[in-house]
């Protein structure tokens, strides 16, 4: 009376579903356990992917080469006098200087960015207000503007140099994590604020991908001439930065270490439940199934399908819960564990990005937890005779 194989597997799938519904309490407990295990990981990966997406744009739209000096082993300011020499190098299509520093805006650390006028014009679509034109005019990041009610036209000074009077020209929208707590101003204003004359944090060189080796070669030639002003420069190129980006957003460091440890601890409880810890009833049912003609592998297949259904449910729940929490509630209470300096109620939009490949990973992880518990114990028990199982 054996019918098609496809129908057989379909029957087993429906039998698995029926069994889950029959043992509702156990199914709910295991699903919730799995969801608790998965949710922190889902949130971490989603935020990581969102930030990585933003960071990749930051690297891609940035310069090809960043030039600074070497000062006591770290980056040091570089004279803007070199700008002209570098801009005329073979392969360089554009060169500009920028100041990047940090200061306190009231009690909040903010990045200070000073760029040339031409670069400021690019920001127009993102600005509510006007672009900085007169000396001292500054664009305030949305996070700072909202927190401290900084409106266009408002003058202010900052503690680290209260002689420099700024005036808010407008607010720049927070398009990314780093665009919230930032002050963007003209290059000269930044230097004046930091009391630096004639230097920049970095000189930015733009070239084409094919010409980067040529430009680097020319730069190295300059640096090899010891004793010249350019002999102690540091060069960072886009390729190296991109490599660091890839490594920096790996899943083996930082918060992921803690997450995997916690998940492993929680997985133990899920393991115990799915392995039928203390549930003699399941052993007896298995004995009855074997006694009425079910084969061992058919029982195992049903167990696998039960766990697959539970895992699918838990993964879906985790993803939806994560979306509601991070996108809907902007990661309130939880984002601070994944992104530094955002506080209990983040003042900046927490980016999160969900990928199908991650969903597949969550499914594999969930299956790993449930199957480790149930499949092995079921396989062990299924080797007993039906009579032994029913006793």
């Amino acid at each position: 009376m054996e019918h098609s194989q496809a129908l057989k597997h379909r029957n087993l799938l429906l039998a698995a579903l029926a069994d889950l519904l029959r043992r509702r309490a156990r199914s709910v407990v295991v699903t919730l356990c799995l969801t608790a295990i998965l949710s922190p990981i889902v949130i971490a990966l989603a935020i990581s992917e969102g930030l990585r997406f933003q960071a990749e744009i930051a690297v891609r739209e940035g310069a090809d080469l960043y030039i600074s000096t070497d000062q006591y082993g770290g980056n040091g300011a570089i004279s803007i006098a070199f700008l002209e020499e570098l801009s005329t190098m073979q392969g360089v299509s554009r060169a500009r200087a920028r100041v990047v520093g940090r200061t306190y805006f009231a009690n909040r650390v903010v990045a200070v960015v000073g760029v040339d006028r031409q670069s400021l014009l690019v920001l127009k679509p993102l600005v509510q207000g006007t672009l900085p034109d007169a000396p001292g005019e500054v664009l305030v990041g949305q996070g700072i503007a909202e927190e401290f009610a900084v409106k266009p036209g408002m003058p202010f000074t900052l503690a680290s140099n209260n002689r420099k009077v700024f005036k808010s020209a407008g607010t720049v929208s927070s398009t990314c994590l780093w665009g919230s707590d930032v002050l963007i101003m003209q290059f000269e204003d930044a230097n004046e604020f930091f009391r630096i004359v004639g230097d920049a944090s970095q000189l930015l060189l733009y070239t084409s991908p094919q010409k980067i080796p040529l430009v680097k070669k020319s730069l190295f030639h300059l640096t090899s001439q010891g004793g010249t002003p350019l002999s102690s420069i540091q060069i960072q190129d886009r390729t190296r930065i991109q490599e660091r980006l890839v490594c920096g957003y790996g899943y083996m460091d930082g918060i992921f270490v803690v997450l995997f440890v916690i998940s492993a601890a929680l997985a133990v409880s899920a393991f115990l439940v799915t392995s039928g810890f203390g549930l003699k009833e399941l052993d007896k049912e298995m004995g009855v199934l074997k006694a009425v003609g079910w084969r061992t592998w058919e029982i195992l297949e049903k167990v696998v399908l039960e766990n697959l259904l539970i895992s699918l449910t838990a993964v879906s729940l985790s993803i939806l819960l994560s979306m509601v929490w991070v996108k809907g509630l902007n990661g309130i209470l939880i984002a601070q564990f994944y992104v530094a300096e955002v506080g209990l109620i983040p003042h900046v939009e927490i980016p999160s990005r969900y990928l199908p490949s991650h969903a597949f990973f969550y499914l594999v992880l969930a299956l790993g937890v449930t199957l480790t518990g149930s499949l092995f114990s079921t396989w062990k028990k299924a080797r007993f005779t039906p009579g032994e199982l029913m006793r």
């Binding site: 009376m1 054996e2 019918h3 098609s4 194989q5 496809a6 129908l7 057989k8 029957n11 087993l12 429906l14 039998a15 029926a18 519904l21 029959r22 043992r23 007896k284 049912e285 009855v288 199934l289 074997k290 006694a291 009425v292 003609g293 079910w294 084969r295 061992t296 058919e298 080797r383 005779t385 039906p386 009579g387 032994e388 029913m390």
Partner: protein, 236 residues
């Protein structure tokens, strides 16, 4: 005629070699012909259930052999035994062992699930059997909603769903009322008339006068054989 079931020096011992060793079945040899109605009779602890489990391939013996249609199944693999249980044997357990949460028809048709039978066919097959056993109006009731006699009939229907040649019932009268017992005896007679081989274990005296062969067991050993049906004919 080749027996459908034959045992040779069959034994099942528990805790072998220990102080609490139990010889549930000890060196029993018997033969069961096709279409016979066999009673394993004896008090509690005599080894009846163990003997049924061994003949039904639900347990493995400690010693001895079991032959089903001439094949020694003692050394069969788990897969081969599953096939025998699926195709040849229907087992009715003493405590029925129905799945709570499933309806009567779902319990009956559960053995058909891994055989790739579609839901409609499974329902029809279960419905036919349950109607035959007088449970046509109980198809969708779960075991908790059925009486002891009704649960037993569901268990019998489940045992019959694969149309086995051998029906084994362990203490079928122990959990049911008198009316149900009468009904049960009628069902068993019907099944025998259809050509099935019926093997029953019981300590109920009512079976002393039923069956083709009655094997009397005591403390795991075969103590006697009688032929109730023949004796009944002789006495008339």
């Amino acid at each position: 005629m080749e027996p459908i079931i034959k045992t040779e020096n069959l034994s099942k011992w528990y805790n072998v070699g220990r102080s609490n060793e139990v010889r549930a079945v000890d060196d029993i040899s018997l033969e069961i012909l096709e279409n016979q109605s066999i009673i394993l009779y004896g008090p509690s602890g005599s080894g009846k259930t163990t003997m049924l489990s061994l003949m039904g391939t639900i347990d493995r013996p400690t010693a001895g052999k079991i032959f089903l249609r001439g094949r020694d199944v003692t050394q069969f693999s788990d897969l081969e035994l599953s096939r025998i249980r699926r195709e040849m044997i229907g087992f009715v357990f003493q405590s029925f062992n129905l799945f709570s949460g499933f309806s009567a028809w779902e319990n009956v048709s559960y053995p058909l699930v891994p055989m790739g039978v579609n839901a409609r066919d499974r329902f029809e097959r279960a419905k036919t059997l349950l109607e035959r056993l007088g449970l046509g109006d109980r198809l969708h009731h779960s075991p908790e909603e059925l009486s002891g006699g009704e649960q037993q009939r569901v268990a019998i229907a489940r045992a019959l769903v694969n149309n086995p040649q051998i029906l084994i019932a362990d203490e079928p009268t122990s959990n049911i009322d008198a009316d149900s017992i009468e009904r049960l005896l009628g069902i068993l007679d019907e099944l025998k008339n259809e050509g099935k081989t019926i093997i029953i274990s019981s300590h109920d005296p009512i079976f002393k006068e039923h069956g083709d062969v009655l094997y009397r067991l005591d403390r795991g050993r075969l103590e006697g054989i009688s032929y109730p049906r023949n004796e009944g004919k002789k006495n008339r």
